[in-house]
Symmetry: C2
Subunit: 392 residues, 2 copies
């Protein structure tokens, strides 16, 4: 068991109609002039944005809006947001949307608070000294960014996708109304469930440090998301299933399911970041397309964890050798992906990558992790290439 820090200051307000609390919460955390940052037009078409601005108007809180945050949110828009905040003397950020809007808002917050180029943080060149305070109205359960310390931004030049983590970026509050996620396309719902589970699986599959309490919380969370993801495929308007998934999304990535571990593996995420940078695929689907190939490549080096996972999460009977049980667990995950209409390889993801593309992605990934990374198994560039090839 390793020492750990756990810091989740985000005030969560969870349930039906909770978006009506937004002005009250912004005031509680001292916001006077707000940038509302969002993605596409869906939050406008659904009427959510009008509800939000009406509430702010009524409370006498002034605001400006900036839309356009896309999946794999772009540095260009972040820079635009920073300029806008400086020009308008913004002192509070409100992200309305999913991980794209939240991550983009975090990056804007770092850029406004700190001198110099905001990309420096994502390029591992220096640490932020603070961030503009941020609140969230969540409309997609997936990235966990509403409670996590991390954000991921893509630089257009060279399509470089990088993450930056800092406690300064943790949201002051997160409004979570499961009803707001009901209008999501089914594919996005399944992508979200995949991403949520992966945030905890990345922490779970490690060779350094374990805590029984953390493991049992992680396993409970993974079982819950798995079962409710299957419910949502058939019954997308099921409130309870939406709520289970939404709350799991926050807990899967706020640090809870990693306490006492070495920090986890995270190589499936790193490999997917290269895919997402190059092909602009949905993050959750990209993870699903890679995970099985990653798991088969590394499981022998992390056998006790893969065995435990198979039994405790995927309900594999404890029959046969450890390897057989571990492999059945991996197969069960792929069966689950198919059941919720997620891909299990690049072809099903719609990515027709040549070997040359894979070499480029493996190289960029290796550079991004200073040559190598991984706790279940330490992967170097040639391993990354092999996993991409296996995922074809």
């Amino acid at each position: 068991m390793f020492d750990f820090k756990y810091y989740t200051p985000t005030k969560v307000v969870f349930g039906k109609g909770t978006e009506s609390k937004v002005a009250e919460l912004i005031k509680e955390f001292g916001g006077k002039k707000v940038l509302i940052h969002y993605g596409g037009g869906s939050v406008i078409r659904s009427g959510l944005m009008k509800k939000v601005t009406d509430t702010l108007d009524e409370a006498g809180i002034s605001y400006v809006s900036l839309g356009g945050a896309v999946p794999n949110p772009r540095l260009g828009l972040v820079r635009e947001g920073i300029e806008l905040c400086k020009k308008e003397n913004i002192d509070f950020l409100l992200a309305v949307g999913g991980g794209s809007a939240i991550d983009s808002a975090k990056a804007i917050g770092y850029g406004v608070f700190n001198e110099g180029d905001v990309w420096d943080f994502y390029d591992y060149k220096r640490q932020a000294k603070g961030c503009l305070p941020l609140g969230v109205i969540l409309t997609i359960a997936a990235t966990g960014s509403e409670m996590s310390d991390s954000s991921v931004i893509t630089k257009e030049e060279g399509l470089v996708k990088r993450g930056y983590s800092s406690d300064f970026g943790r949201a002051k509050f997160a409004i979570m109304n499961p009803e707001l996620t009901m209008t999501l396309p089914d594919y996005q719902t399944s992508c979200g469930c995949t991403d949520i589970m992966m945030h905890t699986m990345e922490r779970y599959f490690s060779n350094g440090g374990h805590m029984e309490l953390t493991d049992s919380l992680a396993e409970g969370l993974l079982r819950t998301v798995k079962e409710n993801a299957k419910i949502l495929v058939k019954d997308p308007k099921n409130y309870d299933a939406r709520a289970e998934v939404m709350w799991a999304g926050s807990l899967a990535h706020n640090g809870l399911t990693g306490c006492g571990s070495d920090g986890g593996d995270w190589m499936t995420h790193k490999l997917e970041h290269e895919l997402g940078g190059l092909y602009d695929v949905a993050h959750g689907a990209g993870l699903a397309a890679i995970w099985g190939s990653w798991a088969r490549y590394v499981y022998k080096d992390c056998l006790p964890r893969f065995k435990r996972f198979a039994i405790k999460v995927m309900d594999v009977p404890e029959v046969g050798t450890d390897e057989e049980i571990a492999l059945k667990g991996i197969e069960a995950v792929e069966d689950f992906y198919r059941e919720i209409n997620m891909p299990t390889n690049l072809r099903e993801l719609g990515v027709n990558a040549t070997e040359e593309d894979m070499k480029v992605m493996a190289h960029k990934c290796a550079v991004g992790v200073n040559g190598g990374k991984g706790s279940a198994k330490f992967l170097k560039e040639e391993d990354m290439f092999a996993i991409f090839k296996a995922a074809k």
Copy 2:
């Protein structure tokens, strides 16, 4: 499933030697003049206090000390602490110890920040508008007060024990070094494990609102504490078991295991508060002495939960009627209490209460909850009396 709020801003620094971070953390949260509040001499004899004051001296943080917080901490000392803080212009509280020191420090914090009599808050007369910032170095895993919003104080006059809950009382940071709990007497360790489990059991046994994710986290936590409590009876210096129990103590009472429920039942706690007020017994032992009688009195009104608990937490085989399974679960809890040397009735607790005493306790308890309370089963004064009698 009910709507919920979840707010756990406490920065947790967990692991070996983490007490050395105390000055750094106090500075991070703006403390300049500190009241160190503690209980008996054990934190002095162990050398912990010297480590703490050396660290503060080195960092140039000034402080005064106030010891004497006892189990079931007293209002008199709280008033003394409030006066001392005002006289010394204290701007930060550091509790070093377990629930007694932390709860007492929270009450001092309310008293310093707010005008008027601090007992008003505990007497449900008004709400606090703030609290002096508080940090914790935890030496006993039990009450969860290091991350919870609650504190419990006993007024000497009439021996009235009352709890007050407010987000203002949540600690800014909690330093948790499992090694600091190793010198606890075995009885106190078992009392702590009982209290920890009960904080989550009180939330679990309810008839209003449930969330599968919350339930599975609660069950994982309860299983973990149960197994590690048994380890600690035989091997009190087991670091990993100490760490599991310590972290579970915080998560059991910070709100996590109640998300989506109606808030839980809490009647075992309320009944024990009367015992603790009158007989000054250890809180955890008092809970163990009452729980079985409470459970047998209420289980038919909350049968699905008692059945699920029996199977998922106490490993009762799913054989027989629901009632039989539920009763076997209750018996298994009592067997567990005996295994960790906890009482299962008042006699074993060392309390020889007359029927008259029980009438007084039931009456005080009923007054304290405005006539009645309980989610597993709503209890009125006569029910409380019946449970005390059954626990004899």
